[in-house]
Symmetry: C2
Subunit: 537 residues, 2 copies
């Protein structure tokens, strides 16, 4: 059992009622992604007391974001890299609403995350003043746990319970709604930490069933997800694959994929259904370890939503809250007791010459990716060459867009950098998606974070052009076409970055991109490179 | 009865299933604030069919926004200026979530607005693919009407019903959730328009009761809101005030206030409770015409939420869905049959010299505000001098932040400009609020809109500093204080604007500001002026 060993600062002192939960193992700091910018007045709500309390709790690091979506995305990045919840401080229903899209992504990533939502004083809600709204309805859509303490004496227990709910495997968003009067009244007392359940052990019979499938002589596939995309799970799966001839694939959008030289290589299930179907091929036994049975991202006319091949049997080895790595190891010990995992050989692409394209940009990134880098990948259509180009780079973490709600990449990079001092963070970002939460750049500058953002500027919602025909919608005219283009005027991301204090440059050739990326990775603090690439075809 | 006279384009043709509702009186164009940018794939969802249909419906104007909050805020601005709903096109739950804060403001403004949310195909939802979420819970929090047609044959009737629900007095957000297969399947047929109820006439006895209060000899106050802030209501209220000695005040945050020379002047109820209490003074009869009984924006420790003075009787003359102007006119005809309204004299401040401050900036704006201007006011603390400085300017419309969810100003200006060709739009914007939906500038550039944005750059969340002590939270330390400051680094709004194709300049003196504002108002297309002002004290 993991235990929350401290919950400091939940004191009875007026003005510091709620304080940051800190979870075992203790980090030196717990990041609080704080947005203090929700007009027309924070004051009168609990957030001011939370903010005022920060000076009394040096373990807390307040990080100002200029938009709630940047705060919740940063909390997601922090949680993915540490396994411990950051707290995003949000202002009533509208503040929570602005943070919802990235809370949706965090929900899909199973990231432990604490959302603290300040609300009106309990007696004030009946007056329906302008900011009043249905907070609980919004919170319920993204949270594994929502609670609203009614009295100050309940706050500490509620906070401890929230943290426990957030970190309980597989992890999730816990939302603590704090009425203003509950924050500013006396009577609060510290609460003892709560135990956190460990991941559930997987019964022997499920491991045995998977082993039987692997011994059947029929084509088998291990589909990994969640914790299965980390080193222990990958190594166990690689042993199984080596010994039995089973293939292995990763889920399409893992929260955190440990990869690179020395780790077993694994392709991810394709985003496009027809490619995913080709990958699955003639598999007869699909063994799920932390991944869900494959499903089309969207429905298409006349196509099935489930991507499980006909006649294929699905075996659930381990799901979200289970001990996925343990189950894979038990399986490997059963079917591959003497087999070693197959590590990826070190390999980097040569630095390319010529035009900058999605493909040559990927080669540059593969050539220069530092050891221990953390990649926040929201490159979308421009990113299809990235996995192959970086497969043999030194070991690194790859974080993906888990819930499909764009605007995740820059905030996620921000939180990952706060969580991981000393590591290079690379945000690979599509232009259309970048604009959603562009103000995260300002927070990166303010906090001096070592993040290099690459904007793949193709000046279009390229994925829309690509997918249009697939749903049977024909766009012949100018009115519709213009809604898919990010032109007239073109966005100048170097100006946007400089406007927020981030040094920036623009690359139009592969050589320029390589030179700029090398410099950005070497210099401390954030940088942005606008990579001018042609639209995806 | 107003009638929706056309609902073109709701055809049975595949690929153009839903089309823009157009409401009587017919505009030449109905704006659709469209965001087409919600990855990872619009395709597969109904939005692509909506977009594809645009070329077949020339009455529709598709306006691309780079973030849903910009789309919903623009739809709000369009609806406030026309009384007719624009449609904001949103992508599943996360797209709706991003648009929620400005839908909250629209809800408080009673703006007629149609939110069209594309959803997964009906059969696909059970597979819980990454973008699946509880759309209905989110929509319910801001909408007067939510419906999800289950078959293509139901779409047209649902769309007509949505428009009717949106425009039914006092107006609201109607949300039409469109599953992808309902969009792409055949079988849809055009639906006849639905009648829209007129505002409810106010019974004679309510007018009589207000008249009796006015004749009581005791201090009376007319509190106006909603349609009462337009010329007919203001003129009737002015007649009443002239004849009876009653005072008049406007609600704190009107959706649209018609004001300036030739219109009756009216102060608005103060945002800060103690000032509002002083304005209300010893009033014994408070007559509500479109406004709600005054309530503190936030609760404060030991202070009441209701601002109605002790011993004051509240008389409801007319509320939201009522014929507010008609009720005020009936009241005026009863108690002031021979009295004329008192128009504001034309008066402009002299152009100031010296430092640029909130006060001198307001004087410059008052000196230069063009006739027929539309002001989108999200200036917050920097804006306290604006009402007095512009009171005698030529007639203009003043749009305020109705729901307290910041990030409204730039999108609202965008939609107001689309709705009002030939009129100058002035967005007065606090720096902290501007960053929420800054990408609205790109849409302004793309559409060539005559909008001048003034950023009051005080480099702080000034209102937080102001209000901090009021709630009993003491901020002594650097950690807390730094969360109230927009510095380190300072935002360069001129760079941000240029990055989105909007010409921009910076003013540090009153003379510079005057010169730049004059030029921006004279030149076509959008402009931005960063007004460097000291923090609010």
């Amino acid at each position: 059992m993991t235990v929350i060993s401290e919950l400091p600062g939940v004191t009875e002192a007026r003005g510091r009622l709620l304080a940051p939960p800190i979870v075992d193992p203790l980090p030196p700091q717990v990041s609080v992604a704080v947005t203090a910018g929700v007009f027309p007045a924070m004051p009168g709500t609990s957030e001011m007391h939370f903010v005022a309390a920060l000076d009394g709790v040096p373990e807390m690091r307040g990080v100002l974001c200029l938009f709630e979506g940047a705060a919740t995305g940063a909390a997601d990045g922090y949680g993915r890299m540490t396994g411990r919840p950051a707290a995003a401080l949000l202002h009533l229903g509208p503040g929570l609403a602005n943070g919802l899209a990235n809370l949706h992504n965090a929900r899909r990533a199973h990231t432990p995350l604490l959302a603290v939502v300040g609300d009106h004083a309990t007696w004030h809600k009946q007056f329906d003043s302008p900011l009043e709204s249905d907070i609980d309805a919004l919170a319920g859509a993204v949270s594994v746990w929502v609670q609203r303490p009614a009295r100050s004496a309940e706050v500490a227990v509620a906070a401890a319970t929230a943290v426990a709910a957030a970190v309980a495997p597989p992890g999730g968003v816990a939302t603590l709604v704090l009425p203003a009067d509950v924050s500013w009244s006396g009577g609060a007392v510290p609460a003892p930490p709560l135990p956190v359940p460990a991941p559930a052990p997987v019964p022997d019979e499920m491991v045995g069933a998977a082993a039987a499938a692997l011994r059947s002589g029929e084509p088998c596939m291990l589909l990994l997800g969640g914790e299965g995309m980390r080193r222990p799970g990958l190594e166990a799966a690689s042993r199984v694959a080596q010994a039995t001839g089973a293939r292995m694939l990763g889920e399409t959008f893992p929260a955190r994929h440990e990869r690179g030289a020395g780790l077993p290589a694994i392709d991810r299930l394709a985003y496009l259904a027809e490619f995913a179907i080709a990958q699955l091929g003639d598999v007869r036994h699909l063994i799920l370890a932390g991944a869900r049975a494959p499903v089309s991202f969207f429905a298409y006319p006349g196509k099935p939503s489930s991507l499980v091949p006909g006649g294929c049997q699905v075996h659930l080895l381990a799901e979200g809250g289970d001990d996925i790595g343990g189950a894979l190891t038990a399986l490997a010990d059963l079917v591959a007791p003497d087999t070693k995992p197959l590590p990826q050989e070190p390999a980097r692409p040569a630095l390319p010459e010529g035009d900058l394209t999605g493909e040559s940009a990927a080669a540059v990134i593969g050539a220069l990716l530092p050891e221990g880098a953390i990649v926040s990948d929201e490159a979308n259509t421009s990113g299809v060459w990235l996995p192959a180009a970086t497969a043999g780079a030194p070991p690194h973490d790859w974080l993906t867009l888990t819930g499909g709600a764009i605007g995740q990449g820059l905030p996620l990079a921000t939180g990952a950098a706060i969580a991981s001092p000393g590591r290079s963070v690379l945000a690979l970002e599509a232009d259309g998606s970048a604009m959603y939460t562009i103000s995260a750049l300002w927070t990166q500058a303010r906090e001096g974070l070592d993040i290099t953002t690459v904007i793949f500027s193709n000046r279009a919602y390229a994925i829309l052009g690509m997918e249009l025909g697939r749903v049977g919608a024909a766009v012949g005219g100018q009115a519709a076409q213009s809604l898919l283009e990010l032109s007239r005027p073109s966005l100048d991301f170097t100006a946007l970055a400089r406007g927020m204090g981030v040094p920036a440059s623009r690359a139009a050739t592969a050589a320029e991109f390589a030179q700029q990326l090398r410099r950005a990775l070497a210099e401390p603090g954030p940088h942005l490179i606008e990579a001018i690439v042609p639209p995806f075809r």
